[in-house]
Subunit: 558 residues, 2 copies
């Protein structure tokens, strides 16, 4: 049997006009701002108007540690959303927007897969509604104003050796990682070291995704630290008066984007911060608006549950006053096998022992998630090659962990394949069983917060940080930043900081290499290992074969 590719399925989608999708959730045409006939933004005034609505139930989809086998987190999010609608519930999906640049390196990512996708897939992998371009513009404006401030006399007394505000571009361009700028003489400014990150790594992105409204956005933008003076005191974006114009540039980007699933159910696709140096979740404003418009909101977090769900709980939910009613932990038989020590090339054929061995990774995630007080259901994202015995092994293991695993076949069958999962998730969400609490209180010292995550989630023995780092954390506490949550930046492939340690490693330590203050976003980034904030292109980038064919279709992007 042969299967259609994601893009083939996406191109065959019977999309409804976006206003019809808006009508389903009560958005009148004057409040739904179309971008073409299949995308739209929701007006700020509509969002304001629904604030008194009752909240729906919030369902988080997270996953085991990712393996090259793929776990299908977004696919499950979309499939579950369609499943809930199919069983008669009013449900919405909230996922992240894709970054443009990486599509030209490796082939572009779909928004879901198989028969559980959000469309229009091609637009979503290209410019979409321009949100990321707006973020690049706002970031670039601050960059220009900062150097302009220095150029015209440097009234704020910025130490040009201590400018922390790097530039961004939404492209994989390693040659911009480190540059010297303002060369060429007096009229071009004061030469200094600088560099570019990719746009999704911008603090502006994290802020857009955490802000309640435009006022909050402006306040946070102004609070970003852009440089330090010789006396080490911080210079804020508001010191160079950039936050107002940045907010103007971001006013449309703050409005959630409405699209549809293959089954014509509403989905918000909005925001896309990095999941290492930022919190990796779609926007608070999209999630909160969706909760006002539907009875169930299915959303996802970045990477595996050790990073993504932890940040969703400790950063997004804490800051936005959200609480998940149910957590769906996505696993696949194939990924279990890889966690059990099997190489990707050897995944073919039944191997129940490997599945059993790999389940340790799953088990630790279940325990971790329960420590937040939330009920957990495991979704086995079904691959057509999975055998019954393999699936049963996962189910049995999950049961032994006091949870339950449900096979979902949304990839192959859409909502028909996810009905059982949807039914159970709705029951749990409706049960009121969730007793959500973040892992640590606001007033815990920063270093203890790091330890709490490292020991409680990663199950490490210790956190290693030299005096310089501990002193920096103490200084921030003295400056009033001690109440912020921490944002862990470590490999997504392992509970440890060693990407090759699959399964459920113990006896490891977490070395902190660097700490950074994202004062506008409102977290302290804790860098454990090499974190790449500007990817490069591969030897043969996908861009070389991307083109429009004679029918005007895009080739090579997927």
């Amino acid at each position: 049997m042969s299967y259609k590719s994601d893009i083939e399925i996406a191109r065959e989608a019977k999309k409804r006009p976006i206003q019809e999708i808006g009508d389903k959730i009560g958005i009148a045409s004057e409040h739904l701002l179309p971008y073409g006939h299949d995308k739209a933004k929701v007006s700020q005034s509509f969002i304001n108007s629904v604030q008194k609505n009752k909240n729906g139930k919030l369902i988080l989809v997270t996953a085991i540690n990712p393996t090259p086998a793929g776990e299908g987190k977004t696919t499950t999010t979309v499939g579950l959303g369609d499943g809930l609608n199919a069983i008669g519930k009013k449900a919405m999906v909230c996922i992240r927007e894709a970054s443009l640049g990486p599509n030209f390196g490796m082939k572009g990512g779909a928004a879901g897969g198989g028969y559980a996708q959000v469309v229009p897939m091609e637009d979503m992998n290209l410019h979409f509604t321009g949100d990321f371009h707006a973020i690049t513009s706002a970031h670039s404006l601050l960059s220009a104003m900062l150097d302009n401030h220095i150029y015209w006399g440097n009234e704020a007394d910025i130490d040009t050796r201590r400018v922390t505000w790097r530039r961004v571009v939404d492209m994989n361009d390693r040659s911009l990682r480190q540059i010297t700028s303002s060369l060429g003489g007096v009229s071009n400014g004061f030469a200094r070291e600088d560099g570019f990150d990719i746009t999704v790594a911008s603090e502006v992105m994290a802020i857009l995704c955490l802000s309640k409204d435009l006022k909050d956005l402006e306040e946070r933008l102004g609070s970003m630290i852009v440089a330090y003076r010789r006396d080490r005191s911080p210079v804020y974006a508001r010191d160079i008066k950039a936050e107002g114009a940045m907010t103007v540039l971001l006013k449309d980007a703050m409005q959630p984007n409405l699209v549809q699933t293959l089954e014509n159910n509403p989905a918000f696709v909005h925001g896309g911060p990095f999941a290492n140096i930022a919190h990796g979740c779609n926007s608070v404003i999209a999630t909160q608006t969706a909760l006002k418009l539907s009875d169930y909101v299915v959303t996802e977090a970045g990477f595996g549950a050790d990073l993504g769900a932890e940040k969703f709980m400790n950063i997004k939910c804490r800051k936005a006053g959200l609480a998940p009613d149910c957590v769906v932990l996505v696993a696949t038989v194939r990924a279990m096998k890889m966690n059990g020590g099997i190489a990707k090339a050897d995944l073919g054929g039944e191997n129940v022992d490997a599945v059993k061995k790999g389940c340790a990774n799953l088990g630790r995630h279940i325990g971790n998630l329960k420590s937040f007080g939330v009920p957990v259901v495991v979704a086995i994202n079904h691959f057509v090659t999975d055998t019954e015995a393999e699936v049963q092994a996962v189910k049995d293991y999950v049961k032994s962990q006091g949870s339950e695993a449900i096979v979902s076949q949304h990839w192959e069958f859409g909502s028909k394949g996810s009905a059982e999962l949807a039914k159970r998730v709705a029951e749990i969400a409706d049960s009121g069983a969730s007793q959500f609490a973040p892992l640590y209180p606001d007033d815990m010292p920063l270093f203890e917060k790091i330890e709490r995550i490292a020991k409680g989630i990663y199950r490490a023995d210790e956190v290693i940080a030299d005096k310089k780092i501990r002193d920096q954390l103490k200084l921030w506490e003295e400056q009033g930043y001690g109440n912020l949550p921490v944002c862990m930046a470590k490999t997504q492939y392992s509970f440890s900081t060693d990407p090759s340690l699959r399964g459920a490693p113990t006896g490891h330590s977490v070395p902190v290499r660097e700490v950074r203050l994202s004062a506008g976003a409102g977290f302290v980034v804790v860098v454990c290992g090499e974190i790449m904030t500007m990817p490069g292109l591969p030897r043969v980038p996908a861009a070389e074969t991307i083109r429009l064919n004679d029918a005007g279709e895009i080739e090579g992007l997927f």
Copy 2:
């Protein structure tokens, strides 16, 4: 009497839904891709479907050399379009899109002024439909692919000292004018000198505005020269396989943007290349499509007629097979006075002598335009402070030059104020009097083309260029580029290369400082004087006061 500001008038506009505007020119909803409720793109398939329609009449609006008093070229373009519609003609306006970056330096430019504006003005000065962001992305992709090519072995043998492809960003950022990139070690590439221009200076912008369709666009993108080898042979964008993916990034940006005038008449606002190092006209695809959809198309060219109209005729019309049926030359009494030697501070009060003296500038433009075989009408863009005697002096002078001048009061009265101008322009356009021909044939040697413009339009005695420049032009002729038109980059404030020489200077020479080959756009840029391709921000940039007020309105942008 007090007058409302442009932005006040724009905010009071009674905009009609954009589909209603589309209906006026026969664009069905499936072919009109909305961006919000007041902007839309026209689908490529619709554009293809109207190719067999008869062309309407083409009217070019150009102006005398700009002075700080302002001449109101766009305002007259819009006012004339509304005037034509008001007298019962089916007319469209085609103007350029605004660049984002400069709005944060000085206050933003309106699209027209008074009661002759195109709306939504604020969107048009911000992200609009994302065209310029798409151009920035396409340009940046080529930049990244170029350095990536060098990084992975440099198969094309690019001489890293001879990379001519600079980077772009749509922001005024002097600190990026000259940089050193690829610093930081082996994994970041080979260090080299580089720099950024503002997006509108990108050759991609010029190409987008000159391409007939997506196929032509891809071909031209591939033909751009990005670097030279040690043997001085050119390296093209197609040598690094970038043109296909760039075209994919630009496919939506190639579709003209439909908006409306204050009087709800249709306007295409599309493309915006620099008017010095590029040709300064809106897109060919917008102009050609408008000609298929209406009986009269009013469009404008950049700067004064010596640069803008000359390039419109010799580059845009030549390349696109267009021919203007009438040229409207905009002048103001105030600008005449400044050309007559009066300072801006002294413009108050009647001064007929100064007006008369300044008319020499107007007269030369009339003569120049007639040399293209096109009928010329002078529009006196009326200011409320103009006296009758002053206006009469201009009229008399224009009559003495064998042309006619008509006062137009569109700024104050909209189409009611431009009816007389519209009536006369329609008569001339309908008369078939135009015998348009470019100023020089394709096969004239490049240096002679420069001389033809310098002597025929600027009325200079000679062109000065050292041997290196003449040799470069000869080399390009040998390489097959001799048939290209030349694109003059000189000051817009004077016929000469000295911006302080107003009026109609004689006895001057035109020194050529540099020549550049825009092989994709299809012209040779001739740089005469200092040309800034990356502006800086002023000491107190407008951005410092731009913000959203509590009503959600933008303050400080205008």
